[in-house]
């Protein structure tokens, strides 16, 4: 099979003497370089308007060629860092994994492949939209669906079907281990969520712990910044998910449900060990806390971990404030609330219940008894609504109903008096809590549903979560969204309904609250009982007048220093609703900050 040699065969190659060479001339390499293919992986370009500085490109880079550089001129916003990737072309292997994983679709590659310079620093380069040689138009490799390296779809959370309305069963079923592992694997650990979370929770760290199936480690990460993880794993406002970098092109990580997965699935011994691991040796100092809501509990826990003796005063029978008496059972089951409070009790916090500060004991007395006092009394009153008929005895408010229902479900109170036909005024999450609680009570009492809602805001601008609206309507709520209440119609001393008008605008030109109605589009919603849920406000009856004089209260909120310290009253710290407005995670954050502030204050006092 081998070749025979031939003297003349090689001579045939001489024909190429007359042909044009295939090589590119040296001059052309520099002056007129051959254009690379359409998806050539050349030098990078990065659209700074789109880039959010998450650093995922740097994480995937197999050669560590990408480092994130802080750019002082960029603003830090929610969901954005002021960092941009810088490339070291001495290390880059032009694999384009950075392009494929870019969460914001800002990083791309150009067709540029020639860079000659005596300046070694020019090989270290922070790409912008213009690329290395101002060659924006020469776009090369870009990510597409096939080369995608992110998982943009969330693992779907299972919910109870509509038959849930027959009881107060928890609606959200929670993740299984398999689902949680899959969801946690989506995280790119950019940490943008941590910056946005009011409590700055170590979100990437605990998600990594889930991914590594180390639940005890995850609980440890949770309790570094949030001792109400059971509660927040269920009803947090999850600002983190709004900032999640994956949400730029896809669906945010289900951070809240992952947190819930941790607290629900960690073995109780591990859980307890992790929580108690933070408690240190006792130190000299006593702190009194007024109110056992989220901010009070958070402050109590962190003060206790620092070694202080902590007493928490609560006016009701069970500690927890809004978490024990506010959130409805179907969102926040009693067991979860009690688990959080139980853990805090185990650290050695002393709860003094059924004691209202202001009547049973005064703030002055607390001042004498303790080295510092933390005020976390929350917004405990419903904001009244003054329309004709609102003084009728069958006009009820949100907070008492929710509290009474929780007590009823605990077995410590009788069923709230719910009528067969009710209407709820308000369009926030609390209004939906009220409506959906009423609906469940009605089914229990009458076997049928008749709950109407009326709110100034229409469907598009409803303050409540979309989820609440969809689920509420599925359960049978009839909403008149975008219709403002004019009067509660009373005939023969009995409520017969709520007269509503179509809303044209809610705010006037000066952006002040001043709703305008279209009186031609109005009707009466039939009902014999009206529930008002148009906001909450604080009750400052325990604060004496001369104290009030020293502190600054603006629109119901107390102005405090960085760590919750009230100016002019150094022994007094405040947090939660009364400082930041109603939001549980804000309360937790305030409580933590104040614990730090109290520690600083007491240390300086003891010197």
């Amino acid at each position: 099979m081998n070749e025979r040699k031939s003297f003349f065969a090689p001579v045939k190659a001489w024909k190429y003497l007359l042909k044009k060479p295939v090589t590119i001339k040296k001059e052309d390499v520099f002056d007129n370089p051959r254009e690379a293919s359409d998806q050539y992986r050349g030098f990078h370009q990065n659209d700074w308007d789109k880039c959010i500085g998450c650093g995922t490109c740097a994480s995937i880079c197999p050669t560590n060629a990408i480092s994130m550089v802080e750019i002082a001129s960029l603003k830090i916003e929610d969901g954005k860092k002021n960092e941009r990737p810088a490339l070291d072309y001495g290390r880059c292997s032009f694999c384009a994994l950075c392009v494929d994983i870019c969460v914001s679709d800002s990083l791309k590659m150009t067709k540029e492949y020639v860079h000659l310079s005596k300046d070694i620093d020019s090989f270290y380069f922070i790409p912008d939209i213009n690329g290395i040689h101002n060659t924006q138009e020469k776009q090369g490799y870009v990510r597409d669906e096939t080369s995608e390296l992110l998982d943009l779809e969330r693992v779907k959370m299972a919910h109870e079907d509509v038959s849930r309305k027959n009881s107060f069963i928890e609606i959200v079923k929670g993740y299984s281990m398999e689902m949680a592992l899959a969801e946690s694997a989506r995280c790119v650990e950019c940490g943008i969520c941590t910056a946005t979370c009011p409590a700055h929770m170590n979100i990437p760290e605990y998600i990594r712990s889930i991914y590594e199936n180390d639940l005890k480690g995850a609980v440890t990460h949770l309790y570094k910044t949030n001792p109400l993880s059971n509660v927040c794993g269920r009803i947090c406002t999850h600002l983190c998910e709004g900032a999640c970098s994956l949400a730029v092109r896809g669906e945010a990580i289900s951070i809240r449900w992952l947190k819930r997965y941790i607290v629900d699935n960690t073995p109780i011994e591990d859980y307890e060990e992790a929580v108690l691991s933070f408690v240190t040796e006792p130190v000299n100092g006593k702190v009194g806390i007024v109110g056992s809501g989220p901010s009070g509990l958070s402050a109590a826990y962190y003060l206790r971990t620092l070694g202080y003796e902590v007493d928490v005063y609560e006016k009701r029978a069970i500690p927890g404030g809004v978490i024990s008496y506010g959130g409805p059972e179907y969102r926040l089951p009693e067991a979860s609330v009690q688990k959080d409070i139980g853990m805090i009790k185990k650290t050695g916090v002393n709860f003094i219940t059924n004691t209202k500060v202001g009547t049973d004991i005064t703030l002055e007395q607390l001042k004498e008894k303790y080295d510092a006092v933390f005020l976390g009394i929350g917004f405990s009153l419903s904001r009244p609504l003054n329309i004709p008929g609102s003084d009728h005895k069958n006009v009820e408010y949100a907070i008492p109903l929710l509290a009474e229902t929780r007590d009823y479900l605990r077995g410590s109170s009788k069923m709230p008096d719910v009528h067969e036909k009710v209407v709820v005024i308000g369009g926030g999450n609390v209004a939906f809590d009220v409506a959906r609680t009423l609906l469940r009570l009605q089914i229990e009492k009458y076997g049928k549903v008749n709950v109407a809602m009326a709110s100034l805001e229409n469907r598009d601008i409803l303050p409540a979560d979309l989820e609440e609206l969809e689920e509420g309507e599925e359960e049978g709520i009839i909403g008149s969204f975008g219709y403002g209440p004019e009067e509660i119609v009373v005939e023969n001393n009995k409520i017969v309904g709520l007269k509503v008008n179509k809303v044209i605008s809610i705010f006037d030109e000066d952006k002040r609250f001043n709703p305008k109605y279209d009186k031609t589009d109005s009707y009466v919603i039939e009902a014999t009982q009206v529930y008002i849920s148009t906001g909450q406000m604080p009750e400052y009856d325990m604060i004496t007048d001369d104290m009030k004089e020293k502190m600054e209260i603006v629109r119901g909120k107390i102005i405090t220093g960085e760590y919750g310290q009230v100016e002019n009253l150094p022994w007094l710290f405040a947090g939660g609703d009364i400082v930041r407005g109603p939001d549980i995670i804000n309360g937790v954050a305030n409580g933590h900050d104040s614990a730090y502030g109290i520690d600083l204050y007491l240390q300086s006092k003891n010197k």
């Binding site: 045939k12 032009f94 946690s184 989506r186």
Partner: protein, 369 residues
């Protein structure tokens, strides 16, 4: 007569890569040969244990410069075996196309490479120019000329660009005309012929003793042992091709088989162009989540394919985490390049040492990885 110690490599035009052989010569006959690896050692296997499953893709093609795609293929195939993932049909065909294009590129370069040790550089220049035309196509398909990083776990990285199959077809037409000229210039050349014919023998018993696969084995044993036939991967079971064999392995036979294999690759590529599904996905996910957190189920697997030099394999061990626990590379030329040199370079003439390396198919980066 006194023995003289000479170095072939690590810097030597006749050496393949930065590999070194210390030759103890008596006159111009090698009396003792000691391969000295280490000049090219980059610790690939260790580095792989510290890279993400996806991140390794930027690393592994560098184990073999001229035919990088085999690394991507064995790696991807091994992961798919561990993860029990079935990749889309079209991806199989694209992979086969890439692998055969790579085989074409390295075979043409190998054929032209004969010009180096024999002094006929024209052949080498031709080969380099011809190979560049294949690289042009690679650039269009994958975005890079040499390190493609295109065959990924779960399929291939991107859809084929429009019109690429026509371009490939045209290139094959051209190659079919050009490659025979190599034969005229090279294989039939009286001087090269004399250097190759009945020289640098590879007896059958050495094949079995050392464990040589690929062209070396097929040229000496008359056995059609080609993993594409005996253990088909991708879609090699759906294309027709022959495995050239011989039972007398001198250097000329081995170069000749390489020459014939080029035409078999062209034949396969023509069938790929014809049979490849026109539509369809080209990639599936091997794991949930982002590539930063891809996990491969725990287990171990030996994944092997037929490279231009023989059986090329990865032994992959996963402990179920986001990085491999251990990967061992079975370089195709490991047996002849390390054991073979020491024992069988002996009695070779100094000027034939480079030809020995060339025709035995020694690729130093895959030995010294």
């Amino acid at each position: 007569m006194k023995e003289v110690k000479l170095f072939l490599g690590p810097q030597h035009p006749g050496m393949h890569g930065n590999y070194s052989v210390q030759m103890y010569v008596d006159g111009d006959i090698v009396k003792k040969a000691r391969p000295t690896p280490g000049f090219l050692h980059r610790g690939f296997e260790k580095l792989m244990e510290r890279r993400l499953w996806m991140g390794n893709l930027a690393l592994i093609p560098r184990i073999c410069v001229v035919e990088p795609d085999i690394n991507e293929m064995v790696y991807a195939q091994g992961i798919e075996m561990l993860a029990k993932v079935e990749i889309p049909e079209k991806a199989h065909w694209i992979r086969m196309m890439i692998l055969e294009m790579a085989r074409l590129a390295i075979h043409i370069m190998g054929l032209g490479g004969i010009g180096g040790p024999t002094g006929l550089y024209t052949l080498t220049y031709w080969a380099i120019a011809q190979r560049d035309l294949i690289l042009d196509l690679f650039e269009e398909i994958t975005g890079a000329r040499v390190y493609h990083m295109y065959i990924v776990p779960g399929g291939v990285r991107k859809q084929l660009p429009d019109g690429i199959l026509e371009k490939l077809s045209e290139l094959l037409d051209e190659l079919e005309v050009k490659i025979p000229e190599y034969r005229e210039l090279g294989l039939k050349h009286p001087i090269i012929h004399k250097r190759l014919k009945d020289n640098i023998m590879l007896p059958e018993d050495v094949v079995w003793e050392v464990g040589i696969t690929g062209i070396g084995m097929r040229s000496a044993t008359n056995k059609e042992y080609d993993l594409r036939k005996v253990q088909p991967y991708a879609r090699y079971d759906q294309v027709e091709f022959d495995v050239p064999v011989a039972n007398y392995s001198d250097a000329l036979t081995r170069v000749n088989i390489k020459y014939k294999e080029i035409f078999q690759s062209i034949r396969i590529l023509r069938q790929v162009i014809e049979k490849m599904p026109k539509e369809g996905e080209v990639r599936t996910k091997i794991s949930t989540g982002s590539a930063l957190r891809w996990k491969v189920p725990a287990g171990m697997v030996y994944s092997a394919i037929e490279s231009s030099r023989g059986e090329y394999g990865y032994f992959i061990v996963s402990d179920g985490k986001e990085m491999p626990y251990r990967i061992a590379v079975r370089g195709a030329s490991y047996p002849q390049g390390l054991l073979g040199i020491e024992k069988y370079l002996v009695d070779c003439r100094i000027d034939d040492a480079s030809l020995w390396m060339d025709t035995m198919g020694v690729c130093s980066p895959e030995i010294d990885r």
